[in-house]
Assembly symmetry: C2
Homo-oligomer: 546 residues x 2
């Protein structure tokens, strides 16, 4: 039996467009003579459709789109994920399309309602297994989390008879370390059921989430035999062959797709895809960003160029009296290296006029933090003015470390449509910079940018280290507090300084309001600031007590 | 049996503070010789604690706080809502405190996971009824949604024996029309079980949510006998008296608390409480807002004064060449009427410098929309500069109608900490203005503000009606589309113009990104922009197809 996994980039809400893509892949699958063509979870409407699922007409449209797709693709058995309204309830379902119509429907039973997932908000769980026969093989259909609850699954499929393949359609978002877990799950599933597993994952960026593809087949020994591309569309085809000794073999039809080289490469590809899709799927072509000559904006610009190509990226330097010729020069050098348009708009005259105006209020301080923030807000206003005038999206350049502690000016450097590296800790930003230079085969990001101590350059001789602990230490505390929900006490017990820990935690807690008004950005860690981490702004749970 | 409902303003995360308040109320209840003292759902930690519940030490602290509370209040039976970690799972629980310790625990069975609620994210449902005997009466303990599922409840309590009172501890957020539903539920519950119902609700503002109190007792005929204050703390005490004919009577110990006079009054009180609590609970005393001489900023300022008193509110006019002497005069008049400080900072010189700088970029248009937005951003930057300098929170003044269609400048008029009227449709803003003048007994908001056609005053002779349909029509469409999830087709069938409907829907859909970066504000409708309505930014579900 020949099976094909149609790992494609579905767009949320674009029912007709997604169906059209599936038709194209179907034509390809027909040419490759497959028996079974599989698409990801909620392929018809994209994942996650969120509260679109509260619109009755949306569910009706999903159903109409599915019917048409079935009629348009009558020659092969297809498995298509869709949002289903059935007897006044909604389900996350997989339709089995055969002979031009829907022959069976499997309804997802395990509905994740943690982390970034809210499936209990939308769906009722199904409770009936669906096993189909394709090309002489018994294939059990499952959806995403269903195979992550192995003990439940064993019980669920107990009376399903002999199964040669478990099929799983997923929309499993990327984060660091996720692929390893997924492979373990797929492998364990194959071994438990002594059958092949076909795992078809979504690919593409959707707001903060990145779906990384990497669909795969495992044989009944639990060995991953074939893996589709990472962060790109692919059609992975394999023959599923039951043997007389009771095992099920998998024979791939293609040579192995290249996989990310290392962690930095994986993150880099995630950021590139996330940026390309957010910008493109929202109808933008060009982006605009401030280049400070620092590491964050340099890495963001390089990712933007990789995502959208140099002619669609514009860099802007907006110097004040506090910017050194070195950083301005490095910004220019970076722009030249990337081959992007580079504009210079000095902010000094505007800053002076603001200062004049604000001086009329008694108590205004032309050297304080308000004055520092003002510079960032002038820059934000200039970027947004150009965005409004020319229709390019502004990319912000803040990393996860400064987003966590609120080392940013709201409506200043946080102003923009998409925050490319908002989930990348500062220490990882350096690794990415090195990776970018490595894969370019030359110093795209100037050496000085990598070695100069980070500074916001909003007052004379300012350094990040004046306000923050060293980034190595900061990132350690943040990982424990933000990503692992550790208490101050637990962090101190790991050998971290109590004072620093308490200070950092206080900064993280107090800046929830800033994060709430910041743009979305690519999620790469198991817990990003976003749907993953829903904390109240009004919150007196004190750092001292933790 | 004498029961008291301790409707108090819990602060999320302030475990010690909440416990202290409960101790004070306990002392009061002891003086009133009550048998049973009841506190709201999750009274120990406030509602909703959101992802604080993912911190193990938070749950430990909740438990320690509860133990101490029990020890501190040994003389009466108390019911206290708390977040419970039990056998590796979390529950939304009600502790029965007696003789200085926890004698029983009821675990909420119905966990809402829709609208603003995410309880399945945090809790497992309980499945055992708890009936306690207090002063000779059998009292069944329930939590919030438990009594909203009547058929389930009847079954759940089937074997619980004769019950004289059902107790319900709630954190039921306010929206227009909610109190009516609540009374129906309480009344129906009393009739179904032929017993008294004691309903204790939370009060206070928590980020976007307002808890309106209005705790109540119903007798076994389903009649609401006593109702606590709205939007304020209260201790409602009544005697619960079973009679020989099998009914249960309720005799209140106080005269009836005053209730909101009408819809405008109810909304007004919600906005005042929400503003007071967001500002105060986040550690601010003073607020700052731009006064344009328009209706939105006028109403916002009046609410701020009611919430925080005149000396804590500063109004700012920031005129450009497009502002008329009439609107500037009205802003000044309003400030005088409210007795607040009034500052004037003209933006013209700053605008000119921005324009000079931006003109260096080919294609910049000194008369276009970018130039209009720039004026709003200069104002936002001035407000934020003063906020940073003086530590006052900026209130934004956008209403629900313009928030819906994106008729606002991101980082301009949306810049601030709290959006007081973000869930108030424009047509209701007028009603509120009239209400404010009525309760003040004089024209606080100048007559001209109520009659002048609304304008953003960002270019010569601009009117809102140049860009938007009449607000009467707009608000009708928005109610249908946003609050009721109707399709374009359904709205057209209600007799609304197809072109206008499609144009409005397109505006709503396209401006999700702006709303996502806007500050929180008071929720007053059944579906606000916020946790109620979670739509993807990247979304191609087209208005044309709806």
């Amino acid at each position: 039996m020949r099976a094909a996994l149609g790992q494609f980039n579905a767009v949320v809400g674009d029912l007709a467009g997604n169906a059209e893509k599936m038709c194209e892949i179907y034509a390809q699958a027909v040419r490759s003579d497959v028996d079974l063509l599989v698409f990801p979870e909620l392929a018809v409407c994209g994942y996650p459709p969120e509260d679109l699922l509260h619109k009755k007409h949306f569910l009706t449209d999903c159903s109409l789109t599915l019917d048409k797709l079935a009629a348009d693709c009558p020659k092969k058995t297809m498995i298509v994920g869709f949002a289903e309204s059935y007897q006044e309830n909604n389900y996350n379902s997989a339709a089995v399309l055969q002979d031009g119509r829907i022959s069976k429907i499997y309804r997802k039973a395990q509905l994740p309602n943690y982390g970034v997932f809210d499936e209990r908000r939308y769906f009722l769980p199904g409770n009936e297994p669906v096993v189909i026969n394709v090309g002489g093989l018994n294939v059990a259909v499952t959806i995403c989390a269903d195979i992550w609850e192995m003990e439940w699954l064993i019980n669920f499929l107990r009376d399903a008879g002999q199964i040669q393949m478990i099929l799983n359609i997923s929309a499993s978002p990327f984060h660091i370390g996720k692929i390893k877990k997924r492979q373990e799950i797929v492998s364990r599933c194959a071994k438990e059921f002594n059958c092949a597993v076909a795992y078809c994952n979504l690919v593409g960026g959707q707001d903060e989430l990145i779906f990384d593809g990497r669909s795969m087949f495992a044989d009944s020994n639990g060995k991953i035999i074939a893996k589709a591309r990472a962060f790109d569309e692919d059609l992975l085809i394999a023959d599923i062959i039951p043997t007389t000794d009771g095992t099920v073999q998998v024979e791939p039809m293609q040579t192995a797709a290249p996989q990310p080289g290392d962690l930095a490469d994986e993150i880099y590809q995630a950021l590139v895809l996330g940026t390309r899709d957010y910008v493109g799927k929202n109808g933008f072509t060009k982006v605009l960003l401030g280049l400070s000559g620092g590491i964050d904006s340099s890495v963001t610009a390089a990712i933007a160029v990789a995502a959208l190509s140099a002619e669609n990226v514009v860099g802007l330097t907006m110097p004040s009296k506090f910017n050194s010729p070195e950083t301005i020069g490095d910004a220019q050098k970076l722009a030249r290296n990337l081959g992007i348009e580079f504009l210079t708009i000095p902010i000094e005259p505007i800053l002076e006029q603001f200062d004049e105006a604000l001086k009329t209020v008694r108590g205004w301080n032309s050297e304080g933090i308000a004055y520092e923030n003002l510079q960032a807000r002038i820059r934000g206003s200039i970027l947004m003015s150009l965005s409004n005038q020319f229709g390019s999206m502004v990319l912000t350049t803040g990393n996860k470390s400064e987003t966590a502690v609120g080392y940013a000016t709201l409506y200043g450097d946080t102003a923009g449509g998409f925050a490319v590296i908002k989930d990348v800790p500062k220490t990882m930003v350096y690794t990415l910079a090195e990776h970018i230079n490595k894969i370019s085969g030359r110093q795209i990001i100037p050496a000085a940018v990598l070695t100069r101590p980070p500074s916001a350059e909003l007052k004379p001789d300012q350094k990040d280290s004046d306000s923050l602990p060293d980034y190595d230490l900061l990132d350690k505390i943040l990982k424990g507090y933000v990503e692992e929900d550790k208490s101050a006490q637990q962090l101190v017990e790991l050998g971290l300084s109590r004072d620093v820990v308490l200070r950092v935690i206080r900064m993280v807690d107090r800046n929830e309001y800033k994060r709430r008004q910041s743009p979305p950005g690519v999620r790469i860690t198991p817990k990003a600031f976003g749907k993953d981490r829903r904390l109240p702004i009004t919150n007196r749970y004190g750092s001292c007590k933790q």
